[in-house]
Structures are given as structure tokens and as C-alpha cells.
């Protein structure tokens, strides 16, 4: 079945590794949705959070192909695991009237996001929510305002400690 799936990938923190991982996806025609990367507590290791859209067979193959790369230390399939997953999103709304600004503050309050900058006719929202919640916010802003600028970072996920307060990847799906 075609669906979104998530992988956490531990890789060597070396020049060219990101290019190799992303090259694997393009070279083999895998459908990459998002990829984030950053260092871990061990500075020689980076961790990637990858979202792909694929069927079961292709997803198995993706995991195997990643595992086969010398620079890949560990592949974790997050799809059915209890995890915490967040995505950072900046939404800049321009050409705001005074009423628009008031409404944006209300929206920020309801969505629990921060208004991190403001100008004569613009407002910047800073959001750390699930991808799904971010999508909802974007949809709302699109429906209400004409000029918006969106910058989003891709999802970052970590396995949960206690299963009760985490969601499954299923929950975060768009």
C-alpha cells in the first residue's frame, strides 16, 4: 500500500554522506518526502529523519539499500513506533491590516504558536508542531490571507520514553 513512512538513520558525520543518501533516493526513483539531518550527542554521528512515500515492497528495499551503505550505521523504521515528532515552521504573513493582525494573534493563541516578529504590516509566526498540525495552520492562513511566505524544516523524530505521551507515525500523517 502506498503511504508515508518514516525512517531514522544514523550515519557517519562526514563530507558527502548526505549527498550519497539523497543520491540513493533519486538514483533508484524512491519518493522522498522530507529529509532532515543534524549531529547527535556523538559528534562523529549524524542522525537523519526521512519521510518517504512508498509501497511495502519498495520500503523494504529502501531500508535494505540504506543498510548496505558503508556510511550508514543504523536504520530504524519509525513508522509503527511510539515517537515524538515535530517540525519547525515559519509563516510570514504580509500586507496585514490591523484586523488581520488581531486575527493572527488569535490564531497563534489557539494553535499555541509564537508570534516571534512583527512589523508595520507583517507578522511572523514560529511554530513547532507536528507536520499535520503545521499543514492545518498553513491551510488556514492560505484561506484567510493573500500574501504568505512559508519556510518549513521537515520533521524531526525521536523514539518515545513512555509510550503514553507519544503518538505513532500514523498519527502525524498528513
Amino acid at each position: 500500500m502506498m503511504k508515508n513512512r518514516w525512517i531514522a538513520l544514523y550515519v557517519e558525520n562526514q563530507v558527502g554522506v548526505l549527498a550519497k543518501v539523497s543520491g540513493l533516493f533519486s538514483g533508484k526513483s524512491y519518493n522522498l518526502q522530507s529529509l532532515t539531518v543534524g549531529t547527535t550527542e556523538d559528534e562523529t554521528v549524524s542522525r537523519m529523519t526521512i519521510c518517504v512515500t512508498s509501497d511495502d515492497v519498495t520500503f523494504e528495499q529502501i531500508k535494505k539499500q540504506l543498510n548496505r551503505m558503508v556510511e550508514v550505521i543504523k536504520v530504524i523504521d519509525l513508522t509503527d513506533m511510539p515517537i515524538h515528532m515535530k517540525e519547525i515552521l515559519f509563516a510570514k504573513v504580509k500586507n496585514c491590516s490591523v484586523e488581520d493582525k488581531a486575527e493572527l494573534f488569535q490564531i497563534a493563541q489557539v494553535f499555541h504558536v509564537e508570534v516571534s516578529d512583527i512589523g508595520k504590516d507583517s507578522v511572523l509566526l514560529e511554530c513547532k508542531m507536528t507536520e499535520r498540525r503545521n499543514n492545518e495552520l498553513i491551510d488556514l492562513l492560505r484561506s484567510k490571507f493573500k500574501q504568505i511566505e512559508i519556510v518549513r524544516g521537515g520533521a524531526v523524530a525521536i523514539e518515545s520514553i513512555s509510550t503514553s505521551c507519544a503518538g505513532r507515525a500514523e498519527y502525524f500523517r498528513k
Binding site: 563530507v15 558527502g16 549527498a19 515492497v57 523494504e60 543498510n67 548496505r68 558503508v70
Partner: protein, 574 residues
Amino acid sequence: MAMDMTGRKLFVKALLEEGVDTVFGYPGGMVTDILDELYKHEEIDLVLPRHEQGLVHEAEGYARATGKTGVCIVTSGPGATNIITGLADAHYDSIPLVCITGQVPLNLIGNDAFQEVDIVGMASSITKYSVTVRDRKDLGKILKMAFYIARSGKPGPVLVDLPKDIQTAVGPGDYPESVSIRGYKPNESVHIGQLKKGYKLLKSAQRPLFLIGGGVNIAKANEKLLKLVEKTKIPMVTTVMGKGAIPTDHPYYIGNSGMHGRYAANIAVGQCDVLFSIGTRFNDRITGDLNEFAPKAQIVHVDIDTASISRNVVVDVPIVADANLALEKLLEWAEPQNTQEWLEQIQEWDKENPLEMRRDKGMTPQMILEQINQQFEEGIIVTDVGQHQMWASQYIELNEKKQFITSGGLGTMGFGFPAAIGAKIGCPEKPVVCISGDGGMQMNIQELATAMAQGANVIVCIFNNYYLGMVRQMQQLFYGKRYEATCLRSRKSCPKDCKGPSGNCPPYEPDFVKLAESYGACGIRVAKESEIVPALEQAKQCSTPVLIEFMIATEEIVLPMVKGGNPMTEMILK
């Protein structure tokens, strides 16, 4: 702790500790330091080819013939890009290579410096591992990793990009004895439970069949496989790369399966109820239409590469293991099975459509190949890519004294001749016969000079039909004989709508006999059947490389044939 030394000194130390006695190298500005260091070492032979593509195929042939790792040294930029095809070829056919590419000094990388290319970026999808050495202190470890990765697990090519200043910089002189890589742990055991499950399935079969790929030859598990086949009495087919896994005249060996496989072999795959495969990735040339592949069979798949399993064909029992280990275990359990009826049935299919070419008019490839079988009791048969390759894969007989080397996965024209030179350099005591087409031979013909210089006295048999025959065969069968771009006699003066040879075709170039002679090699032309044996006998006596040009019928085709994407049981037989 060894004394500090230059990178170039450590590089040669690494070669010596890895037991490397032959390297394939072509000079250039960014490898002069390494070459200068090698100048001091008599214990390492440097083979100088005439083109880097020839170089890398020579290293492949050397590696396949000797089982050792082929070592290549080329310069940055064009030197590096010229080995790309060979890297891809070695990657597909699991050939262990360590390729050192010179690189511009670290501070010039990214400046579009003279002869600078991002070879690691280009090669990463066609190598097992590729890396730039960015710190002199890592050099020893990276070289150790390169050799370890190239030859362990599923072997393959490794590229080490070596900036010029790393070669001259002084740093630690230690070459590690072993290396542990956290992201690379080749499989060194067998899952006994899975293997037992696979064997149980095999044992329960009424019409069991082994499908053997190149993995068995790479693992050198031939003897064990032969014992298993004999003990279980189960018939066996091979892929092109698996050919020779057991002697081809063995009563349980049916032949190659696949696009140009033997009729009985493809029918047997279609009819078997358990297909036990070892060391093949079920490439499209073996399976044809995936929905129609072995439709009645449950499939057991043993392969060292996890990613090869259940990729193309969904299998019932996947087993990740080295062929050697799996066969060893299987031998412990193996018991005779009642396959008499099944074997007879297969023989009947073979009688219905045996592998045979016409014998009524003129010399055929089969006649030449039969004489090659007769004339050489031992040795290495190397092929290029095309019709001659498929004929060789059909008619060449192999046993434990004979090895077959061919470019199976990538299908690289121009592979055969240099690979044969490399094989001869690695095994000078064995006769090496290269079977090539007139097209592929011209892709690396400059290596005649290398063969002469190295005293690599290979016997090259060119099957000359004036065409790029494999594609022409497709045009002949599926494109209304519109021979676009496949006739090697074609000139500007020829009519555009040519549909085959006429009485006034232009002459063929080059004159292979004269060309061979111009290099100081021996050239022989064979136009009819009666000349085959004398030519081969003369070739065996020669003290130079020999090139025999066999003038075969122009429109001969490889049969049986399955059209790409069709079921393997739908064969064109006539």
C-alpha cells in the same frame, strides 16, 4: 609505532602488506608521487595500459582470474572519469577492485582546478564505497578499509580519491592489521532455521530445480555444489554468470536459463515446483515477464546480499548467506531424491529443441566454439559483449580446469580483450582465449600494445560478421531489417534504406590481420571450417599475442531468444 613517513611511502607499504604484486597504473600529474615511489619497488609490477578503460577492465580480468583484488592507479580528472565504466562493471559483477584516483591538492578542490573532477560524487552509485582522503592521518585506515570492503561480503569496487598533498604529507606510518567499521558488517553466518526451512521445501518437491548464479563461482563453492547436486540428484540450470558452477557436461546440468538460454532449461524453470536458487539477483534477463516466472514453483533464495532478496522476485524462503556456508550446511542434510521421471522429462524437452546451429552452409560460431573446446583442455575463456558472448555462453564447455569470464551485469562492450590481458597477467601459465566481436574488439583495440608489452600472449578470436550483431539481430527480428547504425561497413555513400548486405558493399575496416601485425602480434584470418583447427593450433604455438579473425555469416542470429519482457517460456526457436 612505525616511524612517521610520507603518504606515498605509506601507500606502497599498504600495497605490500596487502600482498599486492601487480598494479594497473596510468600516469598523470596527480599520481606522479605514487609512481615515483613505486619506481623503487621491484616487488610490485606496474602494468601500463594504453587507455584507462583498458586499465580497469584489465584489473577486473586479473581479479576474476586470480581471486585477488585488482589495484588501479589513475590520475585525476580524465584519468578518473575513464575508469567509470569499469567501476560500474565491477560493481554489477561483484569484482573486488581498489582504485586510487589522484586528486588536486586539498586547497584546490572546488576551484575547477586543472584536471579536477568530483570523482567520488560521480562514482558513489557504482562503487561499493568511495571516499576522498582529507586528512593524512586517516590514510592508513582508509586504505585498510578499502581492501577489506572490496573483498569481503559481496565483493566490489572501492574508490579512494587521493589528493596530491596527502601523498607528500608526512604523518603516521602505521598500516593497521585490521579494521572495524561500524556501518559495515558483512554477513558471515547462515540462519540455520531458514536454511532448514528451505531444504525441507526442496526435499518435499516433485520437480525440484537448482538455479545457480555467479555467487557460487565467486565464493568458490563449486565442489560443494557438485556434491550437493550429485547427492540429491536434482537437476540444475545456471545464469550466464553461474555457468561453470559445475562441469557443463554433467548429466544433471541442463544449461543456461534466460533470454538466450537453452530451451529445456527455460521450460524446466517454468515447470518446476521448487526453485532453489543460490547467488543470483533474478535480473530481468533471467526472469523475463515477472508474473510468468517460475509460476508453479515455490522459491528459495540464498544470497549474500540482503538487498538482492525479494527485490525482483518475491520468494518463499529468503536466506541471507554466503554460498559456501549455505552449501556446507545443505551437504550435511542432503539425501537422494527421486527425480528420475523429472530428469527424463527434461531430457525429452532437450531432445525436442536441442541447442544447435545449422551445419549445411559455411562456418558457424558453434563450429568455432566446439574447436575451442577441443583445443583447450584447460584455461580461461574471456568474452566481450554481444552475439559472440551469448554463443559462447551456450556452447563453451567448462569444467574445474576452465574458467569463464564475461561482463554479465553491465554488458560492457570493450571488456573482453583487456580483461583477457589481465587474466593472462594474473595466470601466465594458463592459456587465455578471448572471444570477441568485431565491434567490441575495436572499443579497446589499443590494448594490443599492452598485451605486447606485457608478453600477455592471449589468443583473441574475433567473430567478424561486419555488424554490431546483437542489435542488428533485434532489428532483423523486430524492426523490419532497418539496420540503422549497426553495419560496420556502412559509409556515407551507402543508401539510407539499406536492409542488408548487397553485392557492392564497401570493404570492412580495419584489416584486423594487418592491424595485429602492425603491433608485432600474429594475425590469422579464417574464412572456412577446415581452417579453424590449423589456425588454433598455430595460435597455440605462437610466442606473441594472436588475433584470429573468423569470417562468420553476416546475418547469423543467437537462438533461442526471448523478446525482452516476455515470459521465458515463449522462445523464438527458428
